[in-house]
């Protein structure tokens, strides 16, 4: 059965609810492709909801890192919502926790994009 990534929008922020299997092995290629599509259609405020993701591996980290920099290059933002401690640990080893904004609260995360817009 094909995996899909549920998504919804709050204002101009698109929230991608990442299923756990998308972050397994090379499944994150699906996330990469979807983010590329979103950016291509002008969606530059993306929030990855990782609360379902228990196991983040290096491939998934690579997709997040490369898409973060791709969005920043276009004036957009990629942020994380509710990553597990384990996912944060992997991101911290990759030295990305200092750069990637991460939130436990969705409203706060969405508001943070508006702050970015005012800067």
């Amino acid at each position: 059965m094909a995996i899909s990534i549920p998504e919804r929008s709050i204002g101009d922020v698109v929230i991608l609810e990442v299923p756990p299997q998308v972050m397994f092995y090379e499944g994150a290629a699906l996330l990469r492709a979807r983010i590329t599509e979103l950016v291509g259609t002008g969606h530059l405020k993306l929030l990855l909801d990782l609360h379902h993701v228990t196991h983040l591996d290096s491939f998934g980290v690579g997709v997040i890192a490369s898409k973060y920099v791709s969005l920043r290059g276009r004036g957009g933002h990629l942020k994380l919502l509710r990553p597990s401690p384990r996912s944060l640990h992997v991101l911290s080893i990759a030295r990305l926790t200092d750069i990637l904004e991460s939130f436990d609260d969705e409203d706060e995360a969405v508001r943070s994009f508006q702050s970015n817009a005012r800067i």
Partner: protein, 327 residues
């Protein structure tokens, strides 16, 4: 000149699956062509396979040639049609009147060809009957030719199935040989608490990781350390599958785990690939690599484990970690 199908590449790919071109004559095909010739009362019948630039005859009673150029092929036209393709008088048909087989010897006048379909639906060639006088087929002859066409397709499928079965058996033999080779390469596994040879299929990764986790928890390891080892194992096996086996599930990866008396865990992951130079892997923490999409697997393993050695040209990674002292 015969027209060429828009799906020609997939049609030719289907034809290759049957591995029949340029094979020796076979009685089963010769008999079916002969029956077609007798039933349709024609001097010639062919089982013709239409290749990229030629038609080749698996059976050809009534004519000595075994292949012709596709440019002069009636069958090349026939495979463009569904159902029986009939040319009652080629001299009266502008598509064929200048064909050298019509204008000159062997002076074909009548042609009826039933397309032979592959299981994918592609037309491979025809069972056809040919006469040197203009004529047509009775309804009974048409039905019989169609029935014989089904028999030829059945023979083709049987042949393809046999090839596929032979391939599958050969792949199994190769996989078993791989397993035997891998098992012999890690000789110290008599002390292993886990020694598994798995197909290079990512779905096996969680099974191995769970096995490692279970062993370490049984030995009283703390959660953070268990996670570190589990992550390292996942990364090492993923690398072995992705790079060592090129995602080829017929290949195998060996993974063994030993817990030494000192409390140190040793995990070895080995693949049958060409290896790599671990020292040449760029540091993902360097600013120019920080946002790259790949290159973190080896770094994660090096960070999470106490000692990591890549041996045998990178085909084998040996990872060690000591159990933390109880707090």
């Amino acid at each position: 000149m015969a027209t060429v199908s828009h799906d020609e590449s997939s049609r030719l790919a289907a034809l290759r699956q049957y591995r029949i071109l340029d094979t020796e004559p076979e009685v089963a095909f010769d008999d079916l062509a002969l029956l077609a010739s007798h039933i349709c009362e024609t001097p010639i019948a062919l089982i013709s396979l239409v290749d990229a630039d030629r038609q080749w005859f698996k059976a050809h009673p009534g004519i000595a040639v075994t292949q012709t150029s596709r440019a002069v092929s009636f069958c090349s036209h026939a495979i463009e049609h569904s159902g029986l393709f009939i040319v009652p008088d080629a001299r009266e048909d502008e598509r064929f009147r200048d064909n050298p087989f019509v204008a000159g010897g062997p002076f074909f006048r009548f042609y009826a060809g039933a397309p032979l379909l592959a299981r994918e639906g592609e037309a491979l060639g025809t069972l056809c009957v040919i006469d040197r006088v203009p004529r047509n087929l009775t309804q009974g002859q048409r039905e019989a030719l169609d029935a014989l066409r089904r028999q030829v397709e059945g023979q083709l499928e049987l042949r393809r199935n046999l090839h596929e079965l032979r391939d599958a058996l050969a792949a199994r033999d190769r996989a078993e040989a791989d397993v035997a080779t891998l098992s012999g390469l890690i000789p110290f596994c008599s002390t292993c608490q886990m020694d598994l040879t798995i197909p290079a299929d990512p779905s096996a990764i969680p099974r191995i990781a769970e096995g490692v986790t279970a062993v370490l928890r049984e030995k009283g390891w703390q959660d953070t350390e268990v996670i570190a080892v589990e992550l390292s194992v996942q990364e090492a096996i993923a690398n072995a599958i992705r790079h060592g086996c090129q995602n080829d599930a017929t290949k195998h990866v060996q993974c063994c785990l030993m817990v030494e008396s000192s409390g140190e865990v040793v995990i070895v992951v080995r693949d049958p690939g060409t290896g790599f130079d671990a020292s040449a892997v760029p540091n993902p923490l360097n600013s120019e690599n920080l946002f790259k999409s790949s290159g973190r697997g080896v770094f994660l393993i090096n960070t999470l484990m106490d000692r990591v050695d890549f041996v045998d040209g990178g085909r084998e990674v040996q990872m060690r970690k000591k159990k933390a002292a109880a707090s």
